[in-house]
């Protein structure tokens, strides 16, 4: 039960980020969550959108370097130590987090965290056993 994330290579140049959102917006695609990882020269924009395949296509057509990655969305109890509980379980299981970012589900008020693990298969097996609630993509994609 994974979620598809679109990653875009962006040079640190004025207007490039706006160009990505313009291309996506013009194609009628809605962004549900995003994170920008940056270095001094370039950044990687990671996006969760309602139609990942279409986003991949329109960005490619516009000349961007794009890839699709499987990530895992986890529902986090919206209370103190909610996130900490999950991270400690991951730590005990020896699962390494490559990166993560969070957003709040507007309807239910739940916090959702997008995780990229080094070993996604193992994470998929272990997370349910640890009582961590995975989120299906349709729940994320439908606003």
């Amino acid at each position: 039960m994974t979620v598809q994330q679109i990653s875009v290579f962006i040079e640190n140049k004025t207007g490039r980020l706006a160009e990505v959102t313009r291309v996506i917006g013009n194609a009628g695609i809605n962004i549900r969550a995003l994170s920008l990882a940056d270095t001094s020269d370039f950044g990687i924009l990671r996006l969760i959108v309602d139609s990942p395949d279409k986003a991949l296509q329109v960005l490619k057509e516009d000349g961007f370097t794009v890839s699709k990655t499987e990530v895992i969305a986890v529902e986090v109890p919206d209370r103190p130590k909610g996130l900490n509980g999950i991270l400690e379980k991951l730590d005990q299981a020896g699962i390494n987090v490559e990166y993560m970012y969070a957003f709040v589900e507007p309807n239910g008020g739940e916090a959702i965290i997008i995780f990229r693990f080094d070993d996604i298969q193992r994470a998929l097996e272990m997370l349910p056993e640890m009582d961590v609630k995975l989120v299906k993509s349709d729940k994320i994609f439908s606003a």
Binding site: Q5, E11, F42, T65
Partner: protein, 433 residues
């Protein structure tokens, strides 16, 4: 095997005395028939009578590509047009083409030298030579064609392009020798794979590749992907066309330059002074048998060195090391000579990296800086920062290993580097002007 045993294995002294005699004749002829040379000799205070030894060659002024442009189209011809039986021209990427004319005897000499070259590459009568060099103003196609006929091989005049047909004919006609540029050779292999064919199953055994710079890494790739011996050939239209020099299949190490027709020199590209034997610099060639356009000390801009050691194949003509770059794109960065082609070979060896790159040279606090911009494609892109950072570290490390200089690697978006119609602009040197 050797095509012309008498001339290809002449003892050194015999080569040199033949060269001197022919040089004297050539210099006297251009002085008498080409106004450009009459004037340039007069300006330099030299004349044909002053050439008494081969060392006197260095007293003569250079001929530059610009001189050919200034005398466009026929100004450097040493015979009247009615004696010219063929006209070729270089592409002229930076303006008017460079025009060259051949007399009947020049065409005959060219065929002879290409015949020598084919045989040195291991081809012979009975081979089916698939000639995929372009026929036309470019010298590659016809140059190879006449040489292939001269040795009695069966030549297929394919010319360039039409890749699917090339592959079909190569397979159906049982081509054994392929002549084309090294990059087209790899393209053919790739195109064959797309049709579920493996060129290694064809009858090809030798490839003769030139007309553009290529590296040892590329040779290995060609030999592996096509299952052939890949031979480096050298030529330039101003001097003759293909067949000025070639590697022998025995050594595959350095290009024999046919010294009974050309005198090679290596000079310092900055000062124009001749360099001691074995040192690397710019190749200068004097033609000593050409009738249509004899050229005196023509600056090729190609960087190489002369390998003076005798070759295992038995030929006595000296070898040129594989061309490593062009003096007009040589950069001096913190005292180190750097050719864009060297950076290219580093990128070529990194799996998945596009050979689209640009070099930005600048100066900070009186120190030269080099930034290598490399386009990121989908094959090397990752959603993780550390993977891309490792990629740029690897490029930096490999460049440091090869050239001994540190640079900054900047990953850029695809197609962000300027593409020009012809040759790509690889270098932006901000230190100038």
């Amino acid at each position: 095997m050797i095509w012309n045993d008498e001339f290809e294995t002449l003892p050194r002294e015999a080569i040199e005395s033949l060269q001197l005699k022919r040089l004297q004749q050539t210099v006297a002829r251009v002085q008498a028939t080409v106004p450009f040379y009459r004037q340039s000799f007069a300006r330099a205070g030299v004349s044909a009578e002053m050439i008494r030894s081969l060392d006197d060659l260095r007293r003569l002024p250079f001929t530059l590509k610009q001189d050919m442009r200034d005398n466009y189209p026929y100004g450097l011809f040493a015979v009247p047009l009615e004696q010219i039986v063929r006209i070729h021209a270089s592409s002229g990427t930076t303006g008017k083409p460079t025009v060259v004319g051949y007399t009947r005897r020049d065409i005959d000499t060219w065929a002879e030298l290409m015949a020598r070259s084919f045989v040195a590459a291991g081809a012979s009568r009975g081979d089916v030579i698939h000639n995929a060099y372009g026929y036309g103003l470019f010298t590659g196609g016809l140059g190879a064609h006449y040489g292939a006929e001269r040795i009695g091989a069966s030549v297929i005049p394919m010319s360039g392009g039409n890749t699917k047909k090339q592959i079909m004919i190569m397979q159906d006609f049982g081509s054994t020798v392929l002549t084309c540029t090294p990059s087209y050779c790899l393209y053919l292999a790739e195109a064959a794979r797309e049709e579920n064919l493996d060129i290694r199953d064809f009858k090809l055994r030798v490839g003769i590749h030139g007309a553009e710079p290529w590296s040892e890494a590329m040779r290995q790739e060609i030999e592996e992907k096509l299952g052939i011996k890949a031979i480096d050939i050298y030529g330039l239209s101003e001097i003759l066309g293909p067949g000025v020099g070639i590697e022998c299949i025995e050594a595959q190490n350095g290009l024999h330059i046919w010294e009974d027709h050309f005198i090679p020199e290596i000079i310092d590209p900055e000062t124009g002074e001749p360099l001691p034997p074995g040192e690397k610099g710019e190749l200068v060639i004097t033609t000593i048998t050409k009738e249509g356009i004899p050229l005196i000390r023509y600056r090729t801009r190609d960087i190489t060195r002369i390998i003076p050691e005798p070759c295992i194949c038995g030929r006595t003509h000296v070898r040129l090391e594989r061309i490593s770059g062009r003096s007009d794109d040589m950069l001096i960065i913190r005292g180190v000579n750097v050719f864009p082609s060297q950076i290219e070979s580093v990128l070529f060896n990194i799996e998945g990296v596009e050979p689209h790159y640009q070099l930005i040279v600048d100066r900070e606090d009186n120190l030269d800086t080099l930034e290598v911009q490399v386009e990121v494609n989908e094959r090397v892109f990752s959603d993780e920062i550390k993977v891309l950072q490792e990629l740029s570290r690897k490029i930096r490390r490999d460049i440091k290993d090869l050239l001994g200089i540190t640079c900054k690697v900047r990953l850029v978006e695809p197609k962000s580097l300027a593409r020009s119609e012809g040759k790509a602009v690889r270098v932006i040197d901000k230190r100038k002007g």
